[in-house]
Symmetry: C3
């Protein structure tokens, strides 16, 4: 399980942001406290080579959602591990990384826009090469996010085929992984139903949208809307990560093409981010070579402060990490004006121990090229966020 | 806990089905994927001879429900086990059987119509004879299903008195129970409030309805509606099950009489089913003699497929079972035209091991004598369903 | 976890009660069965001196809520224990007492009115003197109850500062605590946003209301409404408890002052209760000296009734306690006419063992000075309640 408690401050926004934040009645985003994640779950093995996992998020008790919910087999020939159920689509390293380990509070614009909430109902295989240099995942997934109602209803076969190949062609075994180069490539080919007029039971899933790398309300500041006539879309993504001791740099680029047949010209949306991070206290960011995702950081000294027997005090400082991220997303093409956004984020992480930390982010967001709302096509916002986090 | 993941296909229905499925705006039932059950719970003993159980279903996160939630005592004189709380009413062997063990995906029409969702708030005693030949349950229950809100509000005492006596007069101890005859009789006498005009807080619980042994939306294809003026109803049920080695046959019949005093003539509804099942791989269906319900099947060889040390493959086939069911329900009498239905179902169960299986059902449903909706009094539908299932 | 199952009977009320119970369409309160609490949770230690707790209430599956949800540190210098998250505000001993241990089914009018549902998002320190004679808690809290949605949205800083000092200046160590005197003082200084016109996202939290020490619907019989222009309010509380063997007497008094600046005269609301309880079977009510709250009662003999090996019966009677409470609350001052109420309650508790009991309450409620609803300013109600309770 995990407990993530956030505080967000949106003290400084231009009028365009108020329009994007609440188109019906323009209103500046308001400050908030929020249990971002409250998760508990069970997982385990069933006889022979079967397994299951079942995890729930109760951060908003009025709108609970499930996360990983699957059953499957491991140690299979050919497929290795095969899982059936709700699981992360393999698109975007930052989405495959656990929120327990990610450096910044929220995921980059492009990662969230092209793979919103990541988990979908599907069947997927997970493999790794014998020397752990390469790992892969591939599967077919339903396009609708059913985390809040557990059900997909619709005669249309809104499915996607996804695949990802990743690896660490350079991995310094001598230092236990303090140096490595991670590369990855992923693709999603999707077949939304493309209805121009939507029936109530089955929405057209060709829609790309995202929050500004911060927790706003449910209205997304960038949003293409459901794209009428979209028969298919394809998202291609590239991953790069280089870690040298306490320093790491990560970059991803993704491009989505949407086909609308006779309903309009094809569309291209894309985005990218690059981030650098450094541990002031000497730790390093490990990688899990079997999954191609970052792993748990272990501070050299835990944070603590206690009275000692001889009436003194003893303490430790934990680990301190600083980070910066530049993020870009373009959701405007032809008649679809979802907007484009460039964010600069400064981050700080205070690791109390391997299972608890405090994160702080300052975000400067710039939005342009949005289809006009209340006359505005762009806006600027300065955002501060902090998160207390433990997992158990 | 348990994870049940379904796929349903309703590709072939006549127009009457569309009318029954959505009377306001006739629409064919749509295909669906669905987490049918996602349950976790806790249970245990409290000091001396007390016990508790608390189980939740999160299959639809937006509409969670509790299942067994009770406290009680065991080893009591006279009562043996006495439970207070939400628990299954003893009516219909197929409802008392766990969904983990039942042969078909969904319960028979008559079982679900006369004991919808089975569990009610009540106080009940559970007993068994010393040689385990006979077992019984009896208690009083509230008539409203409070699984979704935890509260019954109403001055009217909408209660029922229920009892069931079951047993295995023939049980082949030598073979460990590979042969047995199960017989049972159960009765529910209920006192709904019979309001003709309903207050908002307390609905008249004299209503009988059911889905077509498949997962459709919330509108039931057969439905008497809430029967105005119903002062009482009584449901009498008979159970028969014969198991000889890998072969079993089960049948139940239930009849419900409803009294309306001066508000209309008394009513009679009834239904039955008969099913036969056979294990192609030699297993048998055990019975629990202390509860009068079927027990967990143990495959002779589990299903598995793994790479062996010497680069070969090893595997096992699990258990395979085939089954057929004929099911009948009549909810039309006098001015109440809930409809009648006859279903034929072919089923297949692939037991991967004692805690995991895959089920497949083909259902042909025939509805007639329904009060006309959009001009239709009957319809036909062909339905396919499959379920992945584990419990832990 | 805990399971609390209630039955409530409101058979006898005057017409004014119907008006207060449902102002839109006067209706007598209806009888009800209810899972009052269904809680499960996890808690534990994280490395070094960190800890976490996460508890959920699923008594109403359609409206789940979290209870204690926090992370923190223990054994700190100065602060001792420091917790961040959803936790009880230190105001009113009866609210700090667990519902597992409280003598009566529901908390006194004044306790619930001035500290509705007790838990808020905050950061607080918990300390105790070395000889355990004195303990204290203090912290800052958000004013909104976020147990049902996990989020506070609002630019206004609706916060309170709270503190409580309690102790047992007399504590009879020789008898293991069968005699003690508990004294406590607590204060809350709050800064609601005082909006006269309310925005949708952030309600004015200057509102005091309560149910009649019984489970009615969501409309409170006493209610000041959200007080327009309230800039601040302060609640001061005093606690007294004396325990001598099997006999205990408890009393609390609280007074709330509300400042409205130019929007109206300042307001004063207050209330108190006094209760006495006696164990007929010789047990006593222990106190937890580290927290200043009552602790678990251990019956001298558990309740049980079993068949013995020699065909006899063996049993024990458990513990029996009788209690009476007089309770008073005044929410009417100047133009705010929330009403005043005087309740007399007779209570009985049958402790089956240390973790299970049955409670019974008879309540006579008298309401007066309520702003007229449907012409009524007062009413009388006789209420019966019973609760089955286990915790595990």
């Amino acid at each position: 399980g995990r407990i993530h408690l956030d505080g967000w401050n949106f003290s400084d926004s231009t009028p365009g942001i108020a329009a994007f934040n609440n188109p019906a009645d323009p209103a500046d985003p308001e400050n908030r406290f929020e249990f971002r994640r409250l998760r508990i779950g069970v997982s385990g093995d069933i006889k022979d080579n079967m397994l299951y996992k079942f995890e729930y998020d109760f951060g908003n008790p009025g709108d609970p959602a499930f996360k990983d919910v699957y059953i499957g087999w491991k140690d299979l020939p050919v497929f290795q591990t095969l899982l059936i159920g709700n699981q992360k689509r393999p698109l975007g390293m930052d989405h495959l990384n656990s929120s327990r380990y990610n450096t910044f509070l929220e995921r980059p614009l492009v990662i969230e826009a092209f793979n919103e909430d990541a988990r979908r109902l599907g069947i997927a295989a997970y493999g790794v090469s014998e020397d752990e240099t390469w790992n892969w995942r591939y599967g077919i997934y339903n396009l609708e996010n059913i985390a809040s109602d557990g059900t997909y209803v619709g005669d249309a076969g809104q499915m996607s085929v996804n695949g990802r190949l990743a690896g660490t062609p350079w991995y310094d075994e001598t230092s236990g992984g303090r140096g490595y180069l991670h590369l990855g490539i992923a693709d999603m080919w999707a077949h939304p139903d493309g209805d121009v007029v939507e029936p109530s039971s089955d929405n057209n899933e060709a829609r790309f949208r995202t929050r500004p790398e911060a927790r706003t309300g449910s209205v997304r500041w960038l949003n293409t809307g459901r794209i009428a006539g979209a028969d298919w879309f394809n998202t291609l993504g590239f991953e790069f990560m280089l870690n040298i001791g306490s320093f790491s740099v990560v970059s991803e680029y993704q491009v989505t093409n949407v086909g609308r047949g006779n309903d309009g010209p094809d569309l291209t949306f894309d985005g990218a981010y690059v981030q650098a991070a450094y541990f002031l206290t000497g730790e390093y960011q490990p990688i899990n070579r079997r999954t191609g995702t970052i792993a748990r950081v272990k501070p050299l000294e835990n944070f603590f402060l206690v009275n000692t027997c001889d009436d003194g005090k003893a303490g430790g400082w934990g680990a301190w990490q600083i980070a910066a991220r530049y993020s870009y997303l373009n959701l405007t093409d032809a008649d679809i004006t979802g907007g484009d956004e460039r964010n600069f984020t400064f981050g700080m992480v205070w690791w109390w121990n391997s299972h608890a930390r405090l994160q702080f982010n300052y975000i400067h967001a710039q939005i342009d090229d949005r289809g006009p709302i209340d006359g505005f096509t762009g806006g600027r916002s300065n955002i501060f966020g902090a998160r207390f986090m433990v997992d158990f």
